[in-house]
């Protein structure tokens, strides 16, 4: 059982060993270069960069991302529901109505977000 993982172990050893030896060799052989402001600039022989390194995003991206996470994850409840639905729907109509109420709650949240202009990109 454990022998099956021997190749994996070997690969890990090789990967770590290569990374470590590369670092060690570069320290041993490499020369610490002289640092000047020009050498430290992002593009040594290119354009002089303008502005901040991290460009600012519109806050709308965050809003959309948050809403996406929320609505995306609610799907998770539908998987177990879908698995048992066919067996339970006979004699247990509550299976249908509970999911309908759940989806309608999500719908209300979506409508609220829509009315508040969260998905409106024009302004």
């Amino acid at each position: 059982m454990l022998r099956d993982y021997l190749p994996v172990l070997l690969q890990i050893i090789v990967a770590v060993g290569f990374a470590a030896s590369a670092l060690i060799v570069s320290v041993l052989l490499g020369k610490a270069g002289r640092r000047t402001p020009i050498k430290d600039s992002p593009y040594e022989c290119g354009m002089v960069p303008i502005g901040e390194a991290q460009p600012r995003f519109s806050v709308r991206f965050y809003l959309i991302a948050m809403l996406f996470i929320l609505f995306d994850l609610e799907i998770v409840f539908m998987y177990p529901w879908a698995v048992v639905y066919r067996d339970m729907i006979h004699g247990h109509p509550v299976v249908f109505w509970s999911m309908l109420s759940f989806v309608s709650m999500l719908m209300i949240g979506y409508v609220y977000a829509l009315r508040k202009g969260v998905l409106d990109w024009r302004n």
Binding site: M1, V59, Y62, M66, L67, I69, L70, L73, E74, V76, F77, P80
Partner: protein
Amino acid sequence: MTTLGDYLTVSGILFAVGFSGVLLRRNVIIIFMALELMLNAANLSLVAFSRFRLGEDGLPSYNAQVLVFFIITVAAAEVAVGLAIIVALYRARRTTHVEDINSLKF
């Protein structure tokens, strides 16, 4: 063969990493990621317990797995609200570092 103990060890390590991240890191966003790690540690051990404790009928206990779904969705809601608060804080104070959050005396 991986045993229940292995899963619990990994989950314990994850929880410890998450909790120490909350205590040691200084950026609110990183703290938030550490918090997620704590919740996921719990998820891992819940699924492991559910998988290894079979009932009389040979089926795992699905209560725990459903609880995992709830934890995942609640964590998502928490992240959404939390990020909104952090973005608002950044707009007001231009910082996400906990040392700078000091206008209330501690």
